[in-house]
C-alpha cells in the first residue's frame, strides 16, 4: 500500500476506483451533470462517466457555480465519490463544505502522475489527511 499525505481535506473517508487525468475540474465548464459525464470536448476525460469515481485531477478551474452544483449533484446521486486535487481554489472548498463532500488537496508530488487510472484508492480526511492506493488495476 502506498500513501500520500496532503495539506488539507474534508468530508468522510471513502474508497473507490480512481479516474485520473492531468487536467482541471469545474462542474459548470466540464460536466454534463444530467448524464454524469465529462462533456467539454477539450477535457482529457471527455465522454467518461464520473459517477461514483474518485476523481484525481490537477487543479480546480472555472467559475463559482461549482459551489452550488456539488450540492445539487449530491442530492441526485449523480456525483463523484470524492475529489483529489493537486491545488484547490476557494470555490471547490466552499462547494465541498456545503455539500458535505469528500475532498483532499495539496500534495508534495504531482498526484495525477502517481495514481494509476482505475486504481482502488482511499481518501482519508483524518489528521493528517492522506490518499492511499489500495490496489492497482
Amino acid at each position: 500500500m502506498i500513501a500520500f499525505r496532503a495539506v488539507a481535506a474534508m468530508g468522510e473517508r471513502v474508497r473507490g476506483r480512481a479516474l485520473v487525468a492531468k487536467d482541471g475540474f469545474s462542474a459548470r465548464y466540464d460536466l454534463d451533470r444530467v448524464k454524469g459525464v465529462f462533456s467539454r470536448p477539450e477535457h482529457r476525460l471527455a465522454g467518461q462517466s464520473y459517477v461514483d469515481r474518485i476523481l484525481v485531477l490537477d487543479a480546480a478551474k472555472g467559475g463559482v457555480a461549482t459551489a452550488w452544483m456539488l450540492h445539487e449533484m449530491t442530492t441526485r446521486g449523480v456525483m463523484p465519490a470524492a475529489l483529489v486535487l493537486n491545488r484547490v481554489n476557494p470555490i471547490m472548498v466552499q462547494g465541498a463544505a456545503f455539500a458535505a463532500f469528500t475532498m483532499i488537496s495539496g500534495f508534495a508530488v504531482d498526484i495525477t502522475a502517481l495514481v494509476p487510472n482505475g486504481a482502488l484508492v482511499e481518501v482519508d480526511p483524518s489528521d493528517p489527511p492522506c490518499l492511499r492506493i489500495l490496489a492497482t488495476p
Binding site: 466540464d30 467539454r40 450540492h71 449530491t74 442530492t75 481554489n89 456545503f98
Partner: protein, 409 residues
C-alpha cells in the same frame, strides 16, 4: 480560528439557525485554508442561477426563508448575480415553464432573506463600485477579479452559499486575497501589443489565464501602452478569471496596487504579441462556417457597449437570432436613449438580468437547434464547449456581420 464573542454567539445558535449554519460553513472553509480569524465585509454578491442551484438548492433557500424575520435577514448589503431568465423573453428563448417556476421560487426566497435582486455581473460599473482596501464577499469570477485588480478591493471567489453566509454573518474567513502577502505578483508577463477591440482584450485574458492556470497565481502585465477603459478591463479580467481561475492581476501603470505589488526585476515568464492573440481567436474560429445564433453577453453589456452595437446595426437586418444581454440597471437607460429600439429594429433581442451561460444554455440549444454560436466574449467561448456548442470568438463588427449573413466571413 479565533472567534469574537459575537461570532461565538452565532456559532452557539444564539442568533438563530441561519447564522449558525453560516458561520459553521465559513469556519469549515477557513480552517481548510488556515484562516486565523474573520474579517468584516461591507458587501456580498451572490451567484445563484437556478441551473446551478437545482431544485435541491432552491428548497434549501426556502427552508432558510421560512425562519423568523429577525433570524433570516442578511446583515450587510447583499446583491445577486444574473438570474436564469429574462421573464419577458423566456418564451422567445424557448425556456420551459418549470425553469421559470424554479426561478420565481428562488427569487421569493432571496427576497425573504433581504437580498436585493440586482441580477447583474457588472455591479462594479452600476451598483456600488468598491474602493481601495474594502473587504468584500463577491461571487462571479469576473466581478471578483475586477474588484480586486482594477479597484484594489479585497475578496476571494465566494460561491453562492459562502457569499450568502457572508451576508448573514457580515464577515468572511481571512485568507487568500484578504491578506496583503497573497496580493503580490507571482509571475511577470510582457505584452508587446496593446489590444484595441474588446475581443482582443478577451483573447489576451484567455492567454494570460492559460499561462497562470491557478487561483493562487497573480499575473502582472508590463507593456500596456495606454489606460484601458472599464469595458476593456472587464473583458480582459473576465476571460483571465475564466481561463485561469485567477482572482487578481496587476497591470503596471494602470491598476492601483501594481507599483507596490510588482517586482520589475523578476524574470519575465512570457511575452505576448499580436500573433498570439490572432492564434487564440483562430483556434475557435476554425471550427465554424454557418452560424446558428449570435450572443453578446458574459459579462452583461454596459450602456456604451450597447450604444456601439446599435450603431453597427443601424440600417441592417439580422437573419439569425441575435441576443444582447445587459443588466436591469442599464436596460432602462438603453430604452430611454432609444438604443434598445435600434437594436430590436435590426432584429436583435435585448435581454435584461440574465446571462447566456447561466440561463439553461444546454436546454436552449436543444430547444432552438443551436450548435454554432459566435460572440465577442472570450469567457463565453471558454464555457460553452461543455454545453454542447461550437463557439467562435469574433469582434463586435464581425458578430454583427455574422448575424446578418448567417455565416462567418
Amino acid at each position: 480560528m479565533h472567534l469574537t464573542d459575537e461570532e461565538s454567539a452565532m456559532l452557539a445558535g444564539e442568533a438563530g439557525p441561519a447564522r449558525q449554519w453560516a458561520i459553521e460553513h465559513q469556519m469549515r472553509v477557513g480552517r481548510y485554508f488556515g484562516a486565523a480569524d474573520f474579517v468584516g465585509v461591507s458587501q456580498a454578491h451572490v451567484m445563484a442561477d437556478t441551473e446551478s442551484l437545482g431544485l435541491a438548492g432552491v428548497e434549501w433557500l426556502e427552508r432558510l426563508s421560512a425562519l423568523p424575520e429577525s433570524e433570516r435577514r442578511v446583515r450587510i448589503p447583499t446583491i445577486t448575480d444574473p438570474r436564469g431568465t429574462d421573464f419577458a423573453a423566456a418564451a422567445r428563448l424557448k425556456q420551459q415553464d418549470w425553469m421559470l417556476a424554479l426561478e420565481r421560487r428562488a427569487i421569493a426566497a432571496f427576497e425573504a432573506l433581504g437580498v436585493l435582486m440586482t441580477d447583474t455581473c457588472i455591479n462594479y460599473q452600476t451598483i456600488m463600485p468598491p474602493v481601495l482596501g474594502e473587504h468584500l464577499a463577491y461571487g462571479d469570477t469576473g466581478v471578483v477579479i475586477y474588484a480586486n485588480s482594477v479597484l484594489g478591493a479585497r475578496t476571494n471567489f465566494e460561491g453562492g452559499p459562502s457569499a450568502l453566509a457572508a451576508g448573514l454573518t457580515g464577515r468572511t474567513p481571512r485568507y487568500g486575497f484578504h491578506l496583503p502577502k497573497t496580493r503580490r505578483a507571482t509571475l511577470l508577463l510582457r505584452v508587446e501589443h496593446t489590444p484595441r477591440e474588446l475581443h482582443d482584450w478577451g483573447a489576451l485574458g484567455g492567454i494570460v489565464g492559460r499561462i497562470a492556470g491557478d487561483y493562487w497565481q497573480v499575473p502582472a502585465l508590463l507593456g500596456i501602452d495606454r489606460i484601458p477603459t472599464s469595458d476593456e478591463l472587464k473583458h480582459f479580467g473576465s476571460a483571465l478569471a475564466s481561463f485561469g481561475s485567477v482572482a487578481l492581476f496587476h497591470m503596471v501603470g494602470v491598476t492601483p496596487e501594481a507599483e507596490h505589488a510588482v517586482d520589475p526585476s523578476h524574470a519575465v515568464t512570457a511575452t505576448i504579441a499580436e500573433p498570439d492573440l490572432r492564434a487564440f481567436q483562430a483556434s475557435y474560429r476554425n471550427c465554424i462556417d454557418t452560424v446558428d445564433v449570435v450572443v453578446f453577453s458574459s459579462p452583461q453589456l454596459s450602456l456604451l457597449e450597447l450604444r456601439d452595437l446599435a450603431a453597427m446595426l443601424d440600417g441592417r437586418r439580422a437573419t439569425i437570432p441575435l441576443l444582447v444581454v445587459t443588466s436591469p440597471q442599464v436596460k432602462p437607460d438603453a430604452d430611454r436613449f432609444g438604443i434598445t429600439s435600434r437594436i430590436e429594429a435590426a432584429g436583435g433581442l435585448v435581454l435584461s438580468g440574465m446571462c447566456f451561460y447561466q440561463s439553461y444554455a444546454r436546454e436552449m440549444a436543444e430547444a432552438n437547434g443551436w450548435q454554432t454560436l459566435v460572440t465577442s466574449s472570450a469567457k463565453l467561448v471558454n464555457i460553452l464547449g461543455g454545453y454542447g456548442y461550437r463557439p467562435a470568438l469574433l469582434s463586435m463588427q464581425e458578430c454583427v456581420d455574422a448575424a446578418c449573413s448567417g455565416r462567418i466571413a
